[in-house]
Symmetry: C2
Subunit: 293 residues, 2 copies
Amino acid sequence: MTIAFLGTGLMGAPMALNLVKAGFPVTVWNRSAGKTVALEEAGARVAETPAEAVGKADVVITMVSDGPAVGDLLFEQGTAEHMPTGATVIDMSSIRPEEARNHADRLSKMGISHIDAPVSGGTRGAEDGSLAIMVGGDDVTFDRVASLFEPMGRAILLGPSGSGQLAKLANQAIVAITIGAVAEATLLVREGGIDPACFRAVLKGGFADSVILQQHGARMQAGDFAPGGRSSFQLKDLENVLAECRAMGLSLPLTALQRDRFADLVTRLEGGDLDHSALFLELLERNNLSRSQ
Amino acid sequence: MTIAFLGTGLMGAPMALNLVKAGFPVTVWNRSAGKTVALEEAGARVAETPAEAVGKADVVITMVSDGPAVGDLLFEQGTAEHMPTGATVIDMSSIRPEEARNHADRLSKMGISHIDAPVSGGTRGAEDGSLAIMVGGDDVTFDRVASLFEPMGRAILLGPSGSGQLAKLANQAIVAITIGAVAEATLLVREGGIDPACFRAVLKGGFADSVILQQHGARMQAGDFAPGGRSSFQLKDLENVLAECRAMGLSLPLTALQRDRFADLVTRLEGGDLDHSALFLELLERNNLSRSQ
């Protein structure tokens, strides 16, 4: 399979690199050209334009910032028109489920298949090839491209178009709420005179343990909120979860509370560029407490 | 070290058994005698009364239901008076931090040391000897009895008297909130047509993964709410967290919301004897949805 990989940023670059290393013929394109140098050295072909990248591709992978960026790339810039009939678009960007379904419909009318395949696992997962890949689409298309996912992580087909994006939103809701749980536990033990590092150590491997307790709990204790996952992105994800809930007629009380608190962190406390573990700052502020004990 | 183990219920029995197997001389007592038969067969001595059990003990381990039960056993029933001077009480029950400090003070005046050492990990952790043991007390006492904990799990001294109980409360807050996060994600994907089992599978090992996602998420999907950890106990734990917060002047918004919802589950929805994953029923009811899809 000949691959065009559009969008080689923080996540896309290591994902594309793993495809190159696995022996797939990969043509890359990125809006800012500097990010394709290392890929070219590893053996990727670099295209000047998206249209050039996709001209002979069996599969076009898109990995850009959000739904409007995907729509602009595929349709406004005319990239889809340059794809061979019978090509498949795998959109690995995180966008809204209804945007994914809309893209799938529009591409289908052009004779192009589409699956949504957003990921979880961060830059480390992208580099290690250990991403969780949440796939929506039809099983014939999934089976045809499934071998592509292997160098990038573990892919599971969850349902029809948009299902991957819905699962990603549910994933993000769990992350946002668990960060809140870890913040409350960290504050409680800290104010009670317990070293939060000892607290995390004794809980390790137990019922309350999680990657978020160990990693984000340590960031909260250290007051180190360099991203990682930005609070502004976490807020966008929660807004998308709640938009989906409104469309589905669902009420999710913890998600709604966390949306309000991340909005407060991003707007009033100006923490949008901080890691999402900075929700700890919102909790401190709510309690009139300072960052260090 | 000669051990008296008071309270050999669901948790206490396998913990005492691991001490016997490790070669410690153990005398057991339980309010209902039937629960000591297997321990006697394994080599434990069985006492008729708590006073008889503790008469020659270097260490007295208590594992009963709550703070008042511990106080009754130690003081109202006069058990502490029968302990040798210089003995150590290790209270592994889950009680309030201020109750633990009160017990430590009263015992100290009788020449008896006290550490609080509540556990997390459930009956499986008790059987495997893999409990997380959260210890409060002074380091001299902890060091003297530390070898006792090894057959039961991993013990870490967290701070002065009551610190173990405070850590246990923080542990329980994380569990209650994470159950809520998993309930919302499970409902969102289910209503979007995704099999929650596939959702749990794709998230396995990732950022949003946890023991609670895998175990309690499966219970929510199956509608199997046989306990496990009862909702009524979860509510008691959350009440204790919030009582501690009031005493410390802390506001924990997710914990407070979960307390209200578990109270609703226990009282209005009569779910007190169901597993705490039955919070999913509260979420369904809130959304006017039925148990099965």
